[in-house]
Symmetry: C2
Subunit: 321 residues, 2 copies
């Protein structure tokens, strides 16, 4: 059965029974707006997954899409040092979308919240029709009385640290592009039997990222001076933090694991990158370098010119799949 | 010049210089998330405009699209009795989108906030590429210590009132469909010279709705027992309020203006529908009926069976234009 064969109300009902309840919500889906308890300053962010540039149906299940749409937004909240409290989900879908895909998406949204940000859930949303499957999520978070941790707060001579994996998601994407396309370059379904154990983890990092987001508020309490999530690759995001803070970030290649190139330029890991005064590194973060006077990103003391990242307008080839 | 010829950063820069600053924002665009001052409970809602089902480029300018995307969301916030504080805007656009359209959209977003909800502005967003131009807006609002006004709070024997026009937007849409399509049914540009004065107002109500949203918080302070925005036509939305509240809503046709049919079933007005104890009607609201024991919507004492409303999955004909 497809969404075109069901009423908007029935589709909504099937989503809402799956998405659970946010502990901060006193009014959830069903009124003009959700109502959320707030103890003070909040953070808000939005990020969209679009069929074509952001995912291929041959590679991602509905569950994967729901999970990833939640995770990438929850990461932005956690990277401010805030605790995620609520998601709003705007779904625009072709009439031919199977309702099972929508239900799986709802399951993925809920499970990502439960796994990465317990207490957070979908509190509202919007359903409409579109020629292009589009999942626009807004995430809200509570700073619980703390100041936000901005990307501009790093001082020279501090520890640069990361929580979560670097490069795994990008390596997972490369596996998909290299091995799961047909002769015409069209995406084909992943054969799990064709994957080694480590490769399964890399694919999961790409399709269902699970960065340790509870460490965001922990880092804030530990005195992180700057923080951001690594969505465009370590080098590009570190260069943004360096520029915003007016320092250079000197990375130590020995701390970046065996695949240094992927760790430096692979995107979509959503790990947390943060700077701390010496001695303040909280559990779960590992040092990967230091801030120093200057600008840009250094690797083992020398300026690093590669950048990574992905510009959707310049780089999408138009393939949908 | 098109968005495909510009970098994401340059597109963002051109938007942000236009969208202004929300008075509640202590951190705006540029970090992982926006930071908003909040004095207590907040409301949050999201609504999307999709090219095809929701707008036609021949009829709507970029400015219209930005304005309407803001207005429909601000109305949902005001209908809770909250004061809108911030918008997040997720834009997914084809590479061929002219940058002037994006800039005009940013102008429209800002002007709608300034006109309908002063102090509110765009605090964050997301840019990505898509085959389908999609504008997903999330609006946040502050309850300023008040309880939210739900659609479920109406009691029997109260005044039913509305602030804003009813049926104008639907009549405007009918003018577009009836008179500004070519022989193949494709939308063509509106010739202003072909419109009478009153017709220009109807088109503006459809393309740039301007409901009196400041009356939402005013109604809450005046003791409104239920409130919602009229987005799917008066009858359908009143029937939702009636069902949620466990009452019937008895409308008085003499209060609905000369085009009663449009007032009852035309959509997209985003007027505020509210119920008040007798004697509590605040300025700007006009009585259109009463709540009574029972269920459903009555017109001049008889059950009204028409409904209006629009189901995007069942009713979009696939035309883009």
């Amino acid at each position: 059965m497809t969404v075109g064969e069901l009423s908007e109300q029935e589709i909504l009902r099937r989503i809402v029974v799956r998405t659970g309840t946010a502990s901060a919500a006193s009014v959830g889906p069903g009124d003009d707006a959700a109502v959320l308890r707030s103890s003070g300053d909040i953070v808000a962010t939005t990020d969209t997954l679009v069929h074509g540039p952001d995912f291929r149906m041959a590679w991602s299940s509905g569950y994967d899409l729901g999970w990833k749409a939640a995770a990438v937004n929850l990461a932005d909240v956690a990277a401010m040092g805030a605790t995620p409290t609520a998601l709003l989900v705007a779904l625009a879908m072709p009439n031919a979308t199977p309702i099972e895909l929508v239900e799986a998406m709802a399951d993925g949204l809920r499970d990502a919240c439960d796994a990465l940000a317990p207490g957070c859930a979908v509190v509202g949303g919007d359903l409409t029709v579109s020629a292009t499957l589009t999942i626009a999520v807004t995430a809200l978070g509570d700073l619980e009385g703390r100041a936000p941790v901005l990307r501009s707060g790093a001082l020279a001579d501090q520890t640069v640290a990361v929580a979560g994996e670097l490069g795994h998601s990008g390596r997972g994407l490369r596996i998909l592009f290299d091995r799961f396309r047909d002769a015409d370059g069209e995406p084909v379904a992943v054969d799990p039997a064709a994957l080694g154990e480590g490769e399964r983890e890399l694919l999961a990092a790409q399709l269902r990222p699970a960065p340790p987001l509870g460490l965001g508020p922990l880092a804030a309490r530990a005195g992180a001076t700057a923080m951001m999530d690594v969505s465009d690759g370590l080098v590009l995001d570190a260069s943004r933090m360096a520029r915003a803070s007016g320092v250079a970030i000197a990375l130590d290649s020995a701390a970046l694991g065996p695949d240094i190139s992927s760790a430096l330029t692979g995107g979509e890991d959503h790990a947390l990158l943060a700077t701390f005064p010496d001695g303040a590194l909280p559990p779960g973060f590992r040092a990967i370098g230091r801030t120093v006077e200057g600008e840009g990103v250094l690797l083992d003391g020398a300026p690093f010119e590669g950048r990574g990242g992905w510009d959707p307008y310049a780089e999408w080839d138009g393939v949908v799949g």
